[in-house]
């Protein structure tokens, strides 16, 4: 199958989705959501359960009417266009294969609906089944397939009609861990090869980071941050994003002063100076510092530029070792790499070197 000639973008503008809840009254499943997907891009919606990912995806698909706002696919306003007229492919969490049709007919369904001639249809279905590694499965019924195979059929069925937009709702969540990793690789390479604009929903941050061009982080119906995996990891805009993307230490601190791009703060009982940290807050403000576990250094004993700490626990994981270290009655999560990474025993008194750059400083009262 060839790549899509002219990939289109998607634009959600000011989208609200309201539901009537029996007890709570009106609840917003999505609130003022603005999302732009570039042509050919793979964009992920990421967030905790119930944050409105599926709802947003269903609005793009046309399964859900938004209470306010518009949806554009390419230049076309599709807000009032029915799902069957939006030229999309949707892959469902439960695959949603047609149980009364065999694999061939499942995949052929969209082509039949488009009244493709039998010869074209057979060729396309054959191609696509080969592509997802299911040649020879044509006559199987869905209930005779494994979860992974059903997944591939669902994928084949969605892309065989060459949709302008591909939508995935947690397509891998019913698979075991290993299959999940290999399937996400396949989805990603397929998407890149076909160049179809794709929106992918997941609540698994690792999956999101592995697969996406960009990630939209959602919480409680709102978009909280948009960026590449690296941007979100290095510069989370909020404590929520910092906690959701990767493992992290959030350390309370008080600003002492800022000068020449350098920021001095009181943290874990000492004064510490950061390079290139951005903040508008003045002296005396309470803040939270986002320190990633691999940016914190450990030394055998207190050395200049370190603060004293005690090793509380150690987990050896082969290529890395994870520590919990107590500093000034705060627990720090630290990751060490390299040959002697596991050298500190629990109970040992050590020196802890806090990073002087690449630290995100967030206003302390936000959550």
């Amino acid at each position: 199958m060839d790549s899509v000639a002219n990939p289109v973008g998607i634009r959600l503008t000011g989208m609200d989705v309201k539901f009537h809840h029996r007890v709570k009254g009106e609840v917003y499943a999505a609130r003022d959501v603005n999302i732009t997907v570039a042509p050919g891009e793979l964009l992920t919606l990421l967030g905790p359960s119930g944050c409105g990912k599926t709802t947003s995806l269903r609005v793009i698909a046309g399964f859900q009417k938004p209470s306010a706002g518009t949806v554009h696919i390419g230049d076309r306003d599709v807000t009032n266009v029915l799902a069957n007229d939006r030229d999309i492919g949707f892959v469902f969490q439960n695959y949603a294969l047609f149980p009364h049709l065999n694999v061939f007919e499942n995949v052929a369904y969209g082509l039949r609906v488009r009244s493709q001639p039998q010869a074209v249809l057979e060729a396309s279905v054959g191609d696509i089944l080969r592509m997802v590694g299911l040649a020879g499965y044509e006559r199987q019924m869905p209930h005779q397939l494994s979860g992974g195979e059903q997944q591939r059929v669902a994928l084949a069925r969605a892309i065989v009609v060459k949709p302008r937009v591909l939508l995935f709702d947690e397509p891998l969540s019913n698979l075991d861990a290993k299959l999940r990793v290999s399937m996400r690789g396949e989805i990603q390479s397929l998407q890149k090869r076909l160049g179809i604009t794709t929106v992918y929903v997941t609540h698994d941050q690792e999956e999101a980071m592995a697969i996406s061009d960009r990630i939209v982080v959602m919480n409680q119906g709102r978009v909280v941050q948009v960026g590449t995996a690296g941007e979100l990891y290095r510069s989370p805009a909020s404590i929520f994003v910092a906690g959701f993307i990767g493992r992290t230490n959030l350390l309370p601190a008080v600003i002492r002063g800022a000068a020449g791009g350098r920021l001095t703060l009181d943290i874990v009982g000492t004064a510490h100076t950061l390079d290139g940290a951005q903040t508008d807050l003045g002296s005396g403000s309470k803040v939270q510092c986002v320190m990633r576990p691999e940016t914190i250094g450990l030394t055998p004993e207190s050395a200049p530029g370190t603060v004293p700490g005690i090793v509380r626990s150690r987990t050896y994981l082969g290529e890395k070792t994870e520590y919990t270290v107590e500093v000034s009655r705060q627990q720090l999560f630290v990751v060490q790499f390299g040959a002697d990474a596991e050298r500190f025993a629990p109970g040992a008194a050590i020196g802890v070197a806090l990073p002087v750059s690449g630290v995100q400083v967030l206003s302390g009262d936000q959550s």
């Binding site: 399964f63 938004p66 492919g89 294969l97 009364h100 369904y109 069925r157 019913n174």
Partner: protein, 571 residues
């Protein structure tokens, strides 16, 4: 699924309907049909009963209730309904409990299943005729066995017994799933905690069954309240009940208004019972303790003597029903039961000569109504389960109304509504077919809803996302998946078209007659032989068609696989 706020800009009717044109059209068509064949007749009935010269008045109701005869009929109906409810539920529970707990042999279970199926698929007079043969003045038991001269089979007791036997299978079918859902593990647990078996039954099993028992009582109460055929044959003058009174008012005295008012009196308890029964179901009072929770042990809740007692009682009941049907069969092949027992096929000859027109009419009506009723059931079920539009609940209620109401009311309502212009259908086959479709499609509707609740909505969304319009999706995806409901619904419409009488007795004409009406005529002329032969004929046809449908359903299930209907939710 809750509905998102409707978008601004769409007002009036358009705002209440889905954006999809095919869906909107289907909703409008169904509403039009319901308005014409459910709402309009009922409104016409109420108008005829209570509106005179353009003014509303309850006077007719008071007049009717002022007559002692009618008050007695009302009280009798209620008493009979309550008694049938209690006795039928008891019998149903007894058999359901025996089948689910007493480890019966396969053969016995089969006997019980047949014995409980027979009354459900028989024409309405069957039990009554068999009762006359068995307990009448020349009955096998009263006359031949006990030597009673001039035994009186007519009155409350025989009506009660015949109705209980006819309707207890409803209780059995309602209670069996409840009992198997409770499962023996729970009872065993209580037993292992040191309770006596009787105590386990009293404190665990019975309380858990209460919602099921209440539901079955209400179902039987409603069935008895609506039953017109059994009292007509067995109740006699000593025990008048409402449906027969209303019938006699119309056919005997040609008093349509009086009949309308009487049937309204019947309507009030019927509606109350319907609402009460819905309440039980809606509030989820059903026992939902999973039957899947691990393997069930054989159960130790029964002592050996109790087990044998239960088996004996159930088997006796089954045998008694089989005996009644055997009697019916026998009476259809002898010259005159009780007087001349020489074998003859004469009655069947009557059936296939004199009765040929009724048979042809009935079959034509049944075979036309069957697919239409099945389709109607699936369509309404689909809209009720999947549609998102204002008035969905109202549509569901309206589609159930003719089914929940006693047939007498529906029949009189149709008679009043369609006798004169603007919509004159009296004397046509259409009026009978419509009556059957709108009265007996609720089984199909409910089966469709139940099936669709098991089929994940995403399967239909998948079809939409692939570019199929909602009509294509319905035809190619939904319809094949709800085929079992289609056939179940169609089967019920067929059975009822062959066996029902309470509503259609008012709708038959010279042009279109029905077998059941012929049976009634034979009964009143005391030609019991032909009546028996007609009944046997109907039972055979109905059994043949239902087994065919059953076979088809089996095939369908096998081809879909076990997990298929749950939407392939792996994991």
């Amino acid at each position: 699924m809750a509905e998102a706020e409707t978008r601004p800009g769409r007002v009036g009717l358009a705002a209440m309907l889905p954006r999809d044109p095919a869906l909107a059209a289907a909703i409008l068509v169904i509403w039009a049909l319901l308005a014409l064949f459910v709402i309009y007749p009922l409104a016409a009935l109420l108008m005829r009963a209570f509106v005179a010269d353009g003014t509303f008045s309850l006077e007719p109701l008071l007049q009717v209730l002022a007559q002692r005869q009618h008050r007695v009929a009302l009280v009798n109906s209620l008493i009979l309904g309550a008694l049938v409810g209690v006795i039928g539920t008891t019998l149903g529970f007894l058999v359901a409990f025996t089948v689910s707990r007493a480890e019966l042999g396969k053969g016995w279970v089969r006997l019980i299943d047949i014995a409980t199926l027979l009354p459900l698929i028989s024409p309405p007079f069957t039990t009554s005729i068999a009762f006359v043969f068995s307990f009448g003045p020349r009955g096998l038991i009263t006359h031949d066995l006990l030597g009673l001269k001039a035994a009186n089979v007519y009155g409350l007791y025989s009506t009660l017994a015949a109705e209980s036997l006819t309707y207890f299978p409803i209780a059995y079918l309602a209670l069996r799933p409840v009992l198997s859902a409770i499962g023996t593990n729970l009872e065993d647990m209580a037993f292992s905690l040191g309770s006596s078996r009787w105590r386990v039954f009293r404190t665990v099993t019975l309380p858990l069954c209460v919602p099921g028992l209440a539901n079955s009582f209400l179902l039987l109460f409603a069935a008895s309240l609506a039953d017109f055929a059994t009292p007509l044959v067995l109740a006699g003058n000593a025990f008048p009940v409402l449906p027969t009174e209303a019938y006699l008012q119309i056919t005997g005295m040609f008093d349509l208004k009086g009949g309308a008012v009487l049937s309204f009196v019947l309507l009030v308890p019927a509606v109350l019972v319907f609402l009460a029964q819905r309440q039980w179901v809606a509030r989820g009072h059903y026992v939902t303790i999973s039957g899947k929770a691990g393997p069930q042990s054989a159960g130790q809740g029964l002592s050996p003597s109790a087990r044998w007692l239960l088996i004996a009682a159930s088997v006796l009941l089954g045998l008694f029903i089989v005996y009644l049907y055997a009697l019916l069969l026998y009476a259809s092949v002898v010259v005159a039961f009780g007087a001349n027992h020489a074998l003859t096929l004469g009655h069947y000859k009557v059936v296939f000569t004199d009765g040929l027109k009724a048979i042809k009419d009935t079959l034509i009506i049944a075979f036309i109504g069957m697919p239409l009723g099945g389709l109607f059931g699936v369509l309404v079920g689909y809209l009720v389960a999947r549609g998102e539009f204002a008035g969905r609940r109202a549509m569901e209620m309206a589609s159930m109304a003719n089914y929940a109401l006693p047939g007498t009311i529906v029949g009189i309502a149709y008679l009043i509504a369609f006798n004169d212009p603007p919509i004159e259908l009296a004397g046509t086959a259409l009026i009978i077919i419509a009556c059957y479709i709108f009265r007996y499609s609720p089984t199909g509707i409910r089966t469709t809803v139940a099936l669709l609740q098991q089929i994940d909505k995403s399967i239909e969304e998948a079809s939409l996302s692939l570019g199929a319009r909602s009509f294509t999706t319905f035809r190619r995806i939904t319809l094949p998946l709800v085929m079992p409901a289609f056939f179940a619904g169609l089967g019920v419409v067929f059975i009822r078209s062959m066996t029902a009488i309470s509503a259609t007795i008012f709708l038959v004409s010279i042009g279109w007659s029905l077998i059941t009406v012929r049976i009634l005529e034979n009964m009143t002329e005391l030609s019991l032989g032909p009546a028996a032969a007609f009944s046997v004929f109907v039972i055979v046809i109905v059994m043949a068609v239902t087994s065919l449908i059953g076979l088809l359903l089996e095939r369908m299930k096998a081809s879909l696989g076990d997990t298929s209907l749950s939407g392939m939710a792996a994991g």
